[in-house]
Symmetry: C2
Subunit: 274 residues, 2 copies
C-alpha cells in the first residue's frame, strides 16, 4: 500500500434506548453493532449515555444506573464485543466514581479498554446529576487512525475540536443526545477549519418529554457530509475514509492552518467571563 493511504471504515449507530432498561439497551446495541461489523467497520460510534437513557429525574436514578469505568457492565460488554469482532467502539456511559457521577465516553478496541473522556461542558439538567469533566481533550492512537472524543453539548465550544485537532486527532468521535437544532449544520465549519473527520452519533425518539433530533452524520475535512441519518429511524451507516486526509492542514500552496495560526494574538482566549 503506497502513498500513506490507510483506508478505514467508520460509522455511527443511531438508536433509541429505553430509559433505565440497561440490559434491553445493551442487547439492542449488540444487534445493531452486527450491521456495522457486516459492513466491515473498523470504528463505530454510539450515542451519549447509550445504555441508560438520558433524562434522569433524581440523583438516585443516576446512582442506580451508573457504573464504574472500565469495570462496569456497559464497558465490559463493549470491550468483549470489540475483542471478538476486531474493531474499535466509542460509546457514552453513565460513570460512577465513588460519590461522583460523570457523563463519560469510552474508547475500547481489540486490545481492550483504551481511554475514557468525561464531558467537560454539561447541558442543562445534567448539571444537577453530573460533575463536570476533569479529563483533558486528548488524541488516542488506534489501529488505523488517531481519534479524539467529545460529548454532545461540547460541540458548542469551538475550543474542544480545536484542541483535539491540535493534539493530533484525525477523527473526532461525538456521542450525542442532541435536542437543539443547530449542531448538524454548525459542525460543518469545525470540520474544515480543523481539517478533521467528525462522527456525530445521535439518538432518536423521545424520553420523558425531550425529543432527540437524530440526523447523525459523518463530515470529512473538506466539509463533505459522507453519511447522514434520518430524524426518527434507528440506523447504522458505515463509510470508507482515509484518515490521513486530516494530516495535511494545507489549504493553499502557501497556507498551512497550523503554521498560520497567530498564537501571539490568541491570548484573550484564556480570559474568563461570567
Amino acid at each position: 500500500m503506497g502513498c500513506g493511504l490507510v483506508p478505514m471504515r467508520v460509522g455511527f449507530v443511531q438508536f433509541k434506548p429505553v430509559f433505565g432498561r440497561k440490559e434491553r439497551n445493551i442487547k439492542r446495541i449488540l444487534t445493531l453493532l452486527e450491521f456495522g461489523v457486516r459492513e466491515g467497520a473498523d470504528l463505530l460510534v454510539l450515542p451519549e449515555l447509550c445504555t441508560t437513557g438520558y433524562r434522569f429525574k433524581s440523583k438516585e436514578e443516576v446512582r442506580s444506573l451508573s457504573e464504574n469505568v472500565p469495570d462496569g457492565m456497559t464497558t465490559e460488554t463493549l470491550i468483549r464485543y470489540a475483542e471478538e469482532n476486531g474493531l474499535y467502539l466509542v460509546a457514552g456511559v453513565c460513570e460512577r466514581s465513588g460519590e461522583r457521577y460523570f457523563n463519560s465516553a469510552v474508547l475500547v478496541g481489540p486490545e481492550g479498554f483504551i481511554a475514557k473522556y468525561r464531558k467537560a461542558h454539561l447541558f442543562n439538567e445534567e448539571k444537577l446529576w453530573f460533575t463536570r469533566g476533569d479529563t483533558p481533550f486528548q488524541a488516542y492512537r488506534i489501529a488505523k487512525a488517531k481519534v479524539g472524543m467529545m460529548i454532545c453539548f461540547d460541540w458548542f465550544f469551538p475550543e474542544v475540536i480545536r484542541i483535539l485537532a491540535l493534539e493530533g486527532a484525525q477523527i473526532v468521535c461525538h456521542p450525542s443526545n442532541l435536542v437543539l437544532p443547530y449542531c448538524q449544520s454548525a459542525l460543518l465549519g469545525a470540520a474544515v477549519q480543523n481539517r478533521v473527520f467528525i462522527i456525530t452519533a445521535n439518538r432518536v425518539g423521545s424520553e420523558r418529554g425531550l425529543r432527540f433530533t437524530g440526523m447523525s452524520q459523518i463530515i470529512d475535512p473538506n466539509m463533505n457530509v459522507l453519511a447522514k441519518g434520518g430524524r426518527d429511524r434507528e440506523e447504522v451507516k458505515v463509510v470508507e475514509i482515509n484518515p490521513k486526509l486530516s494530516d495535511s492542514k494545507k489549504v493553499t500552496e502557501r497556507n498551512d492552518l497550523w503554521a498560520d495560526r497567530r498564537v501571539d494574538l490568541y491570548k484573550p482566549l484564556l480570559k474568563t467571563l461570567r
Copy 2:
C-alpha cells in the same frame, strides 16, 4: 423605548471592483452606498480591498495603489460619506505604512475615523505583498452596537470570532474577497457558538483568473441567515436587527456560554505547531 431594544439597520454592499481603477471603484461604491442609505442603514460593510481590487502581480502595484490610513483617498472619502449621511462603514483598504503594506479594514462613522484592523491571517499570494497584521482583535462601540472586524480568510481560524465575541462584539464585520466555497456555510456554527451577528460582505466577478463567490450574508446569533446575496450580481441588502440579542449567551436555563467555558482545560489552544 423599553426592554433594551435598540433596533438597528445593517447591511452589506456586494460589488465588483475593477482592478487598479481606484477612482472608478470609489465612484461606484458611492452609488451603491446610496441604496443602503435609502434603506435607512446604520452600518454598511464593504468587501476586502474594495477600492483597489485584489489580485496584485507585483509589489510595485501594491505600492502604487496603497494608501495611508486614515490619511488616504479611500478612508477620507468614506469618512466624509459617513459624516454626511450619519452612518457607520466598514471597508477593506490597501494600507501603506512606511515600507510595509497591510490588508486592512477601517471603521468610520459620523464622528470620523474610529479604528483600523490589519488582517492577521494572510491568504496565499497576499503573503508576497502584505505584512501580517499586528492589531488585536478588538470590539468598538458605535452608536447602537459594539462591532468587531475580521477580513476574509481570518474566518478559517475560529479563534478570531471567539476573541471578538469575548471582547464584547455584538456584530462581526467581515469584508471579504472569497474564492473557496466553504465560508458561507462554515460561519453558521460560529454565529451560534458565539451568539454574534456576522456580516460577510463579499465581492463578485473575476479578476486575473480568480473567481469570487459572492453570496454575501448576514447571520444572527440563532444561526438564521437574515439576508443573502447572489453569486454574480452587485447588490446591497439591509435588514433590521437587535444587536442586544447577542448580549445574552444563555442557551438554556442553566447554560451560559461564557460561564460554561472550561478555560482550565483550554491551555493547549496556545501551543504552536508548524
